[in-house]
Symmetry: C2
């Protein structure tokens, strides 16, 4: 049921199709994030109309609210969040370290306090597999330990070694559950840690490969505060280590320019809350860079947010009105800029794919980045 | 350009068609409120798909933010808020008394402080006509003085007498502006005051009629805190005073049951923020009364909010998911319940109209109210 067909490459950049039980994902692709079973402010039919193919949701959040058993009782995550297409759940590994009110890492798992009510919980590789099996997304992420950017090599080593041991436990429990219960067709992606330490990254990738075959690989531990050049170097290293015939999902990326840089280095799938989070703060992406929609210069500006954009906000509304909505704290403003930023990233991935397919990715991407960064001479 | 065709009556209830330069409004009709140039959380195409024909917006709010001159510069309110259909602006008369940080009524007008920043402003009948001419809605409300529910007869008399004098000034300035400027085709509705005092109500209606012809009449000074029976009695009295051949707009109503009671007493047009304001607090209207969508009993309830409802929330989502969205403070929850409550009132007015047209309004309405109020035996 899971397959990846590599259609064409240009340098390290790849165009392909990832097949899942709920549909195909043409890659490169950006996955909108539905943290709590909803992409903030956006309805599923709007996502579909904007070209989203695969959506991500968060195990940590759904476990706390409304609870994975309830989601299962209601027919699983696809039915619950009204997303009939491909779905991916992360493992909560990132959230228990970044979001929980407190956390304590032990060999068996992580003890953490809910950021909502301070209640105490434990995630183990086994319990996370049980939760993700209950949720029923197509792609299930392994439970990993993700140290923060700027961690020492020894901290990173501890985390990669534990991530490898946890992956073995995830894999075992994931397969046991398929035998024990009537579960939907799902696949497990391992999450590579190792921060920006080349040796650890290589070791982690080889450790995962030695464990067997995977339908896809995730790259974790990046976009967590490290310097950009270190991120690019790490992706270049991993491009040589991960099997070419599987999709590579770079977690937590990203911003438009980072997405293109990562596509150039062989990544296929991306997720990030940046489109909707930026939108809520009034930041819109345009071909000429980021703009603050509340800026006084937009007061009577009748152009769309990004001239040439095909999103519902740009087709239907102008900057003056969207600025008014933000200044007046009107919900429609958040909705419109969320739609715009999501479509901006979804389209950027579509364009990258089209240019890889016709061999013009490198030139197009360089030009695009120059305009976006305002560095065109 | 403005016309009202009375199609059929059943008792005092009326079915008709109000024609405006931007389209026809089949009455009875509920007008969604776009306070700041947007119906909270709802896009214009969603309103259109749910059957809204006429929308209201607020002079007080648009004057303060973004400013009526800017709205005019941007092509007028229809263009600004992307509502190509009939539009009505209130006069700010209600807001300067109910919302402003302070207000002082003088014979020339009202001095008030903005609820946003405390800045000092003056509304006069003349300045309000200038603002409403700039906004360019089809129907423009006269600037009136609206005392609160429970005011004494002498307070109400002062207000009705001033409202009559202000109406004369509104009318003069409204027509002058048509000569001075290239303004859109608009009409001015007078706003009847008089609280629940029959003598004052009668006197006010006759004073307005003596002033000349109006394309429609508005009933103000109700739904401001008075007892319901007094409101119904006042509507019955006014039904005999207002010309039958013009639409009657009952301002600030309402809740579903109040809307039906007012239709039965000869009212044609309604507006209220209740659908969206209730939605933001998690209150949904159903055929069996109000429900709190956060109620624990909806935790795993897979029925729509109101079984049989044709709104986008009921067609696409269940109570369990909508409850989750509210418990998790997700914006999509507010959107869905706003859509539901708006469609609920829009449909209720459509149903009332259909039943008036076939002579079954009284029986249907009694049955509907029994179910809604839970008083069916």
């Amino acid at each position: 049921m899971f397959d990846y067909r590599l259609e064409r490459t240009e340098g390290a950049a790849r165009a392909g199709v990832f097949t899942t039980p709920h549909g195909d994902v043409a890659t490169p692709a950006f996955m909108p994030v539905g943290t709590q079973g909803t992409v903030k402010g956006v309805a599923p039919d709007e996502l579909d109309r904007m070209g989203a193919t695969m959506v991500l949701s968060n195990t940590y959040h759904l476990y706390l609210r409304p609870g994975h058993e309830l989601v299962a009782e209601l027919g699983g995550l696809h039915a619950f969040m009204r997303w009939p297409g491909p779905l991916l759940t992360d493992s909560g590994g990132f959230q228990v370290f970044s979001l929980a009110a407190s956390n304590e890492v032990r060999e068996d798992g992580v003890v953490f306090q809910s950021h909502i009510d301070g209640s105490r919980h434990v995630f183990t590789p086994e319990s996370v597999m049980e939760i993700e099996r209950s949720l029923g997304a197509d792609v299930v992420m392994a439970f990993d330990q993700c140290p923060s950017g700027g961690c020492s090599e020894s901290e990173a080593r501890t985390a990669t070694e534990r991530t490898l041991r946890w992956l073995e436990r995830c894999r075992r429990r994931f397969h046991e559950l398929a035998d024990e219960r009537a579960v939907p067709e799902q696949t497990l992606f391992p999450v590579l840690q190792g921060n920006v330490y080349d040796g650890l990254r290589r070791e982690q990738a080889r450790g995962f490969a030695d464990m067997g075959e995977w339908d896809g690989w995730a790259i974790g531990g990046l976009s967590v505060g490290e310097e950009k050049p270190a991120m690019w170097r790490t992706l270049e290293l991993l491009d040589g280590e991960i099997p070419k015939g599987r999709p590579r999902y770079l977690m937590g990326v990203g911003y438009p320019d980072d997405l293109l840089e990562a596509v150039a280095r062989g990544c296929d799938l991306f997720d990030c809350v940046a489109p909707t989070r930026n939108a809520r703060h009034g930041t819109a992406w345009t071909a000429a860079g980021q703009v603050n929609v509340k800026a006084a210069r937009f007061r009577s500006d009748r152009l769309p947010l990004d001239p040439g954009c095909d999103c519902p906000a740009c087709v239907g509304y102008d900057r003056a009105y969207i600025r008014h909505l933000f200044v007046a704290n009107e919900m429609l403003g958040l909705r419109l800029v969320s739609l715009h930023n999501l479509r901006f990233l979804l389209r950027l991935a579509e364009q990258a794919r089209a240019h890889i397919l016709d061999g013009s990715f490198r030139a197009w991407s360089a030009d695009w980045l120059e305009r976006y960064r305002g560095t065109r001479v």
